[in-house]
């Protein structure tokens, strides 16, 4: 089976035991993203405090790949400076577009390098990116809103 290259142990672990799952308050932006081809969806919230990603919380339904990659995302970006978080997002995006050819930066991507196998299956790339694109969208929305310390903004 070539399957192991996609379903690496670390991915299955995150899938079975997702990190930071559930929707929490306070948050600065909430987005809802879907993958129209399969109907997978994620609702994702971000909380930015003092230029750092204070929390990412999420809920949704999707396959192992989309669930695990969102879980990994939270590990990599929570408690990081926003700039660093966005750099990680960029790096993950390139990794997924690499068709398995990338030599990913282990230091930056940590567990997320496990997804290199997924990038060889074009139909699954969108699964892996679902949470990450939602995160990008949510941080952009949070950035464009007036800073608050309370959480939810109008």
């Amino acid at each position: 089976m070539q399957l192991e290259s996609m379903y690496q142990e670390i991915i299955l672990d995150h899938y079975k035991h997702p990190h930071r799952r559930g929707l929490r308050e306070p948050y600065d932006a909430e987005v809802h993203h879907v993958n129209p081809a399969c109907g997978d969806e994620v609702t994702l919230r971000v909380r930015i405090e003092g230029g750092r990603v204070a929390d990412v919380s999420y809920d949704g339904m999707g396959c192992s790949i989309s669930q695990a990659s969102t879980s990994v995302l939270t590990d990599l970006v929570v408690d990081q400076p926003l700039e660093q978080a966005l750099a990680v997002q960029e790096a993950f995006l390139s990794l997924m577009q690499s068709r398995g050819q990338a030599e990913p930066d282990d230091d930056l991507l940590e567990d997320a390098v496990a997804f290199v196998g997924v990038s060889q299956y074009p139909a699954r790339i969108k699964c892996a990116l679902l949470g990450w694109m939602a995160f990008k969208d949510a941080t952009a929305q949070a950035a464009s809103r007036p800073v608050t310390s309370e959480g939810v903004t109008a």
Partner: protein, 429 residues
């Protein structure tokens, strides 16, 4: 032969192994050399050599623009194109001039929906097609997006109201409230003949009777029925039937809209341009009678000819024999897959009034993951909402894994599928 044995192997004269040789693609391997088990004919069917040869012959020997030239090639192309129309007509028991070639089933349905909104600004003979505020358009919860969204859009354009039939827990159409769903306000009832997700074959007679009582036209999405069972429009009692060539062993890029002659004759055009006109002046244009009225521009000529070859091929095998073979496969698949623990069939669990589309969910697993592991074993299925998202919502699931069978599928492939599902469960356990 006992009835059970026949159920398991299909009708005696049906030689699947011989048929498979007609389909070049079925000979290939996938994922590092595994034999291909193609269970995705519901998405698109594979093509027999006869179809590929018909298209190629056209291009190599007779290619010309139809309806347009006075040279020999144009004559030949015309004859082949119109000959294909006659073949398709005969295949569904229609008159030749009731067959409109479209690019797919989706276009056929859009054609009717747009023609209905165009009726508002057309002449008096189109008056019966006009819809507006207060009028109702009826669909069902099990529609493919291609037979749902065009009607939502018609309502958006005209101010009419969309209503729908519900689906019961077995995946059957709930017709208990037919009189309240189809009321005097209904102008059109659009319904799928055979569901592409749960396989249900709908009782068109019940629906058509009520629809016609209230003066509504009945538009049937036959994308999954025409390829798989004998369909005779004379017997169906409906007004329009749309289907796609690519799902019935024909080329991509061609579909068919059948409509009753007197309805087509009264309908305003949809796509306009070359070849569908009668007299053109800068200030206005009159149009040809059907079917030409609905075929604007140089048509998908080679594809229509390929579809003609496909219906010849299917007729040669015999649609009744194909339907029986599929019934046998379906019964077998329902029992094999249904017997797996942790696997639930979505849709009717017996083979009556259902086609060879078997959708299922595996406890604790997402369809994508199921499909991926099956793919790795060489088994091609489809996963997701299958372009019928409201139906997935109805069952409160993210989607299903779907196996669909056609004339070239075998009982052994169903065994492989069942073993594959078992392997999926082990992989993720």
């Amino acid at each position: 032969m006992t009835e059970l044995a026949q159920l398991l192997t299909g009708p005696p004269t049906f030689d699947v192994e011989a048929l498979r040789k007609d389909f070049p693609l079925l000979q290939r391997t996938v994922r590092g050399g595994r034999p291909l088990v193609y269970l995705d004919s519901g998405a698109t069917a594979q093509k027999p050599l006869a179809v590929l040869d018909a298209e190629r012959d056209f291009y190599e020997l007779h290619n010309a623009a139809v309806h347009r030239g006075a040279h020999q090639l144009a004559e030949e192309a015309d004859e082949l194109y119109e000959g294909a129309r006659a073949k398709v007509a005969a295949f569904i028991g229609a008159a030749t001039d009731e067959i409109v070639f479209t690019k797919n089933a989706t276009e056929g349905i859009n054609l009717v929906a747009y023609s209905m909104s165009n009726a508002a600004t057309s002449g008096p003979e189109a008056a019966r097609f006009v819809v507006g505020p207060g009028d109702e358009v009826v669909v069902s919860e099990m529609e493919h997006h291609s037979n749902l969204v065009p009607w939502q859009q018609l309502c958006q354009r005209t101010g009419a109201t969309l209503k729908w039939f519900r689906v019961d827990d077995d995946g059957r159409l709930d017709t208990s409230d037919v009189d309240s769903v189809i009321t005097e306000r209904a102008k059109v009832v659009a319904l799928v003949h055979q569901s592409n997700v749960v396989g249900t074959v709908n009782p068109l007679d019940v629906i058509a009777a009520r629809a016609h009582d209230v003066g509504a036209v009945v538009v049937i999405d036959g994308a999954q029925s025409v390829p798989h069972m004998p369909v005779d429009v004379g017997a169906l009692g409906v007004d329009f039937l749309a289907f796609s060539g690519h799902k019935m062993c024909g080329p991509s890029g061609v579909g068919v809209l059948w409509g009753r002659r007197e309805l087509l004759a009264a309908m305003p055009p949809f796509l306009t341009g070359g070849s569908m006109i009668e007299i053109v002046e800068m200030s206005g244009t009159t149009f040809m009678p059907p079917p030409a009225r609905f075929e604007a521009g140089v048509p998908n000529t080679a594809q229509a000819i390929g579809l003609g070859a496909a219906v010849d091929y299917l007729s040669g095998v015999g649609m009744q024999a194909i339907a029986e073979h599929e019934q046998a496969l379906t019964s077998y698949a329902l029992s094999r897959v249904g017997a797996l623990s942790g696997v639930r069939i979505i849709g009717p669990v017996t083979a009556e009034a259902r086609g060879a589309t078997v959708s299922f969910v595996v406890d604790g697993l997402h369809p994508h993951d199921v499909g991926q592991v099956l793919d790795d074993l060489g088994i091609a299925v489809r996963t997701g909402h299958h372009c019928a998202w409201p139906l997935a919502r109805r069952f409160n699931i993210p989607g299903t894994t779907r196996a669909t069978f056609y004339l070239y599928n075998t009982h052994a492939e169903i065994d492989t599928l069942a073993e594959g599902i078992d392997a999926v469960q082990r992989f993720f356990s």
